[in-house]
């Protein structure tokens, strides 16, 4: 990574931050965001369990957690498939 690349990257990030702050100060875009289901989660969450993170992961979005555990299975499978290829084969 040369010095010119680092300088360009830093300039891009700082320009983006400055422009977002400026537009928020002029046009007040913080009030145009739609809350959506966040009101339902905040109202009903704490009467199920005290930990809001676990309620969102395992109750409201439990289907995505099922996909996450399939990702873990696939990762282990691909590692054993690439590096293995019949070298280890004992069933104890």
């Amino acid at each position: 990574m040369s010095k010119a690349t680092i300088r360009n990257l830093l300039a891009a990030v700082l320009t983006a931050l400055f422009s977002v702050t400026l537009i928020d100060a002029i046009f007040n875009i913080s009030n145009m965001i739609n809350p959506g289901v966040s009101n339902i989660y905040n109202a009903l969450g704490t009467q199920i369990a005290p930990n809001m993170v676990t309620v969102v992961i395992f109750d409201f979005r439990a289907y995505d957690t099922l996909g996450e555990s399939i990702i873990l299975l696939t990762a282990g499978l691909v590692v054993l498939l690439i590096f293995g290829r019949g070298l280890l084969g004992d069933k104890r």
Binding site: N51, I57, F58, Y63, I70, A75, V79
Partner: protein, 158 residues
Amino acid sequence: MSQGSVILKLISLPISIILICLGIMTILGGHITPGGGFQGGAMIASGIILSILVYGIGNSPLELSHTYIEVLESVGALGFVIFGLIGLFVGGFFLYNVGADLLNVVPQSIQNVLHYPDVTNAGIIPYLNIFVGLKVFVGLTSIVIAFAGFKKLTEEGE
């Protein structure tokens, strides 16, 4: 590939046992404190990986056989799906929380059967934590066992 001095071999088994017990404690407190299934499963895996690294893959005290890894991974995935099917048949939606139902469609007898005996009323969340913890623990440990076995095989082949 064992790191074989006597001091390491003497202290690693008690520390591994305490790490496994701390991991089980983190899984079982998942619906109240930060933690839960994924984090507790990684802690249990780190306890077993410490024992494999210190002793070597041949004579480690905590060693998982092939059948054990297959059975535990299947139990973890199938348990999650079976709890989802219970929610489908009783509540009308896949992975519906049968313990704390928000639509009031579940009869009280089924709620009393699946109740985790606790002061909270969290439904199926503790059971899902346990199944995901088992699956993460077995997945991470099997990768480390495979790499240790490959290294030993290439060291013996030369």
